[in-house]
């Protein structure tokens, strides 16, 4: 069974969730001025960069051929989901 189509969905999830977490961490930093939150935000920024790079590699491989495999993407999505819901639970 070809599961290649799931890459599209997972990469979209990575990008969106990392962006959401990035926004949340930026807002939190603006409120608290806690530098740890800034570092966490930096991690989410890198995740977001990864999502953008993978998106480019997915649709414009001639521009930047960034590839990865499906299990890695699945783990990334799970990590981001857990972080997101953990943030939501305070």
């Amino acid at each position: 069974m070809d599961l290649e189509w799931m890459k599209d969905v997972f990469i979209a999830w990575i990008t969106v969730f990392s962006l959401a977490l990035l926004i949340i961490s930026v807002v939190s930093y603006a409120r608290t001025r806690n530098r740890r939150i800034l570092l966490v935000g930096l991690a989410f920024l890198l995740f977001f960069g990864k999502g953008v790079a993978l998106t480019i590699g997915l649709y414009w491989p001639s521009f930047w051929n960034v590839t990865t495999d499906l299990p890695s993407l699945l783990f990334d999505v799970l990590i981001l989901l857990i972080l997101y819901f953990a943030t939501l639970r305070e």
């Binding site: 979209a12 999830w13 890198l46 990864k50 649709y59």
Partner: protein
């Protein structure tokens, strides 16, 4: 430096490394075979009567996991300059094989190199034709002057590469009688014509007879025609026959027979004006047990040809042995390949319309094959049939079977026809025919198809995924907001309730409440004090009730 910052930097570095192009790709390794480099060795070989070395012989050891045809190319280099190259294709069974690579003295001397030569190997395997196995070996120290260029050593049998367990007897015609005299190192062979083609037989009288074609660079490569065989009256007599004693392989004989073919590709309109088809004859004494051989068809677009064949030899009589029909999967092209040892002149444009039966055998016995053309090597199974070939050895006569396979080699296509004996008692005999032909003409051959890339990704899926993620975020945020609102409302309700209680009855202090309770307790005590003076009634009514009943104000209440 802050520990957190350090951890974040490391994480970022790892992510960047993971994003490097191709980092996530796992290359599929060629597992068909591998070189056993530890067992490689090299030595110079001096022929009888030679003043200096005639060959540089390198023994390479190869372990094969998959049955099929293997193409080995060996390049001898010094200081990254190549000065000798060998190439050959052989059919190998699983196991470890010793390969003797012999580089000629002339090539080595021309290289003018002194030092440790580097031999680079490239092995094209059946299942990974695009991913050859590479290997290299460093020889001992040699000086080019050690190899005498004045004497060009004859080639070893078959080619300059000898697979020790490969097919060891190559001969085309099963109607040929061979006789070899080991004392005089002479070989005689007779072509026996018979209408039913079944009386021909091999008689091998000496097991280390070698005969091979070509005086060119390689056994399989085309070279100038030095001899033409003339067949008449059932006896095949080549013109000058070169015989000698090979130090490694014993007596040898070589001769050339050349057939001229015209290739016409009706679809492309291209022709190869003259095509040399080489029939090989050589034998050696290694008893070869012929096992069932799977057929590997490594197709190429050059299979998609219309083949019109004209054999220029006049043999007379009859004896078409084999006829093959090769077509592509779409059925647009077919190759009808006919060969025979008799008068065979045919020039026809489209064999699909008309088939000429030149075979004296029964029509039903003519084997026909239809291959599906593929670029990737595909195991199509074994195409075997009983041919008219028969082998006789030590009074055991058995029929031969035929395997067919096609191997692309650059712009050329090699067709292997192998007839081998299935009877284990006489299975030493294998007959191979090799046809090498290529494309010429004003139109180039069809381009090699590129490997199908991965399926293009659909942006719609990406958008749907992003929308789904946004929906999850929105829903979770909304849920979270609602819980905040409900909590706030609950607080408001409690506050309102408390406020309303304050308005109806003023709050009493603890002291007041304590005083009220004391008053209430005193009243209850007084009532209890009065109660024993009035006994309860018969109906069990309580004293308070009777009291209440006697009171007109209480009854009216």
């Amino acid at each position: 430096m802050d520990k957190g910052l350090l951890c974040a930097s490391l994480t970022a570095l790892l992510l960047l490394l993971a994003l490097m192009p191709g980092a996530g790709r796992a290359a599929e390794a060629n597992s068909d075979a591998f070189f056993v480099l530890d067992e490689f060795s090299d030595q110079p070989v001096k022929l009888e009567g030679s003043a200096s070395y005639d060959y540089l012989e390198v023994k390479a050891v190869l372990h094969v996991n998959v049955t099929g045809f293997y193409n080995l190319t060996a390049r001898l280099e010094y200081a990254r300059a190549e000065f000798a190259r060998l190439s050959n294709t052989s059919y190998l069974n699983p196991g470890t094989h010793a390969i003797l690579l012999r580089f000629r003295n002339g090539d080595i001397h021309a290289g003018q190199a002194a030092g440790n030569y580097i031999m680079r190997l490239s092995l094209v395997t059946p299942n990974f034709p695009l991913d050859p196995i590479e290997g290299s070996y460093e020889t001992r120290y040699y000086h080019f002057s050690d190899f005498n260029p004045s004497y060009i050593a004859p080639y070893p049998p078959g080619s300059v590469i000898s697979f020790t367990d490969g097919p060891v007897l190559h001969a085309w015609n099963s109607f040929m009688n061979l006789t070899f005299d080991k004392d005089t190192a002479s070989l005689s062979y007779h072509y026996t014509q018979n209408r039913d083609g079944r009386n021909g037989r091999f008689t091998v009288t000496f097991l280390r007879v070698l005969g091979y074609l070509d005086s060119g660079d390689s056994f399989f490569q085309r070279s100038e025609v030095t001899h033409e065989a003339a067949l008449a009256n059932g006896t095949w007599r080549p013109e000058p026959v070169e015989t000698g004693i090979h130090p490694a392989y014993g007596p040898f004989l070589r001769f050339n027979i050349t057939y001229y073919l015209d290739l016409v590709d009706l679809r492309l309109g291209s022709t190869a004006s003259e095509l040399e088809v080489t029939f090989s004859f050589h034998m050696t004494g290694n008893p070869h047990t012929s096992a069932d051989r799977a057929l590997v068809v490594a197709g190429s677009s050059q299979v998609e040809l219309q083949l019109s064949m004209r054999l220029s030899h006049i043999i007379g009589g009859s004896g078409l042995v084999l006829e093959q029909l090769v077509g592509d999967s779409a059925g647009n092209h077919e190759i009808l390949l006919r060969d025979q040892i008799n008068e065979f002149r045919i020039r026809q444009d489209d064999f699909r319309d008309t088939e000429q039966r030149l075979n004296p055998l029964d029509d039903e016995s003519i084997p026909k094959l239809a291959f599906i053309n593929r670029w990737e090597p595909v195991l199509y199974g074994r195409y075997t049939w009983v041919t008219a070939a028969r082998a006789m050895f030590q009074n055991v006569s058995v029929p031969a079977t035929t395997d067919v396979s096609y191997i692309p080699e650059g712009a050329a296509l090699r067709l292997f026809l192998a007839y081998h004996i299935r009877d284990p008692k006489a299975s030493f005999l294998t007959i191979n025919d090799t046809f090498v032909f290529g494309l010429e003409g004003d139109k180039p051959p069809p381009p090699r198809p590129v490997r199908p890339g991965p399926a293009p990704h659909d942006p719609l899926l990406y958008i749907l995924g992003a929308m789904l993620a946004l929906a999850i975020i929105f829903a979770s945020m909304r849920y979270r907001t609602r819980s905040y609102i409900e909590e706030e409302r609950e607080l408001e309700r409690i506050e309102e309730r408390e406020l309303s209680e304050e308005e109806g009855e003023p709050p009493s202090s603890i002291e007041e409440r304590a005083f009220g309770e004391e008053e209430e307790a005193r009243r209850r005590w007084e009532r209890r004090e009065k109660a024993p003076e009035e006994p309860p009634g018969e109906d069990g009514e309580r004293p308070g009730d009777q009291e209440g009943a006697g009171d007109p104000a209480g009854g009216g209440r």
